[in-house]
Amino acid sequence: MRGNGPKSAIVAALCWALLPVTATYAENLAVRNCNWCHGGSAQGYTPAPRLAGQRSQYLEQQLGYFHARTRDNPFSRQYMWGAAAALTPQSARQLALYFSSLQPKAANDGVPDLAPLGERIYQEGMPDANIVACVVCHGPNAEGVGQIPRLGGLAYSYLKRRLAQWAEGYHAAAGPPMPDIASKLSPNQIEALASYLSFVK
């Protein structure tokens, strides 16, 4: 054992030096706090959404909205207002960059029979009912861009609640367009969209 000491120290030092930045950052206390609810690999754990693979600018913006208490649905008040209270803009950005760098996995937990309707609404919209096509902003694979979130593969229950909460008067952001868009959707259309998106990789 004693003879292995220096060797182990050298190996450990080498490993430390070769570890990617994100791996060392994962040991950070702030990340571990997130993992309590969002899961060990940040894939989400109902009702906490997946953070892995989410757009970094979106995560950073949402942490700002939690910090400012703009995002105000019940779970946000209960958990995220406190979680974001002590964050600095710099630490929010670091967390956002870290979680966006993780590989996302699709939740695959929607209602398969509803997915075709959800796909139609997502890709084409319903012009006669004044429902816009989600694809224009969220992208062909629901991957999101910039501050527009990735929706593909998020959990059915999370997507369903988020879409319903806009019409209920809760805010996830300071401005348009989602409150108006989502409040035009019927409960069945919301379930269809949430189902479809849960299967998108």
């Binding site: 012009p127 816009v132 224009v136 902003c137 969220h138 527009i148 401005g175 348009p176 367009p177 108006d180």
Partner: protein, 249 residues
Amino acid sequence: MSAAWSESVRPLKKAFWSCSPTGGEGRMMLPKHRAHETIRRRSALFVAILTIVLAGGGWGQYAIAASSPDVQAKLSYCKDCHGPSAQGYRGYFPIPRLAGQQPAYLENQLRAFIERRRTNNIMFNVAHSLSPSMLSALAADFHALNPPPIGGAPQRLVATGKKIFQDGMPENNIAACAACHGPGATGSGEIPRLAGQLYPYVIKELTNWGKERGQNPAKPDTSAIMSPVAHSLDQEQIEAVAAYVSTLK
């Protein structure tokens, strides 16, 4: 909230926007379309004259009012994507500014989607759900809006863009944009306003001109005027012009 959308211009050639090979259907339906077109134009003219002549006599109720719930609902739908003041929006794809746009241009483009002269699957569906009178009401509303441009273009390109816009490039056979679009890029008739248009949208249109516009050989349209110009501009010049017009109020 839009300040940080901007970091990158999305890739220009997405399958989503690319030409769909369904032009054949449009060609087969040509005679019917043309008949419809003539009838529609005549009825629109008739309604317009009636409205003017009989406005004082209580016929106003037969014209679609801009304040009608249907028009308001449709406007709100358009603005879900094009922005609350129709200032445009940077989604996954750039969504053009409609504010201040020439009504004749807007109406022609919406017809172009339906007639497959202009390729865009989303707008094809959207345009199909609009009646001619709805279309005119929407175009009039958008024309009256004038929010500030959303910005986001690289400032270093603006000066070059201004020169091309105002003087053209005679050595490359490129006329001054201002000659047709007006010195303030406000357009006229079927010639679109470019002032304040989104930087990535103008780039996409000029880059893909021949793949998006004038796609129905049986129905040649005014987009042909821009074809040689769009072809002759190189990518750097396109970006410069797009940057310049995106800053104009």
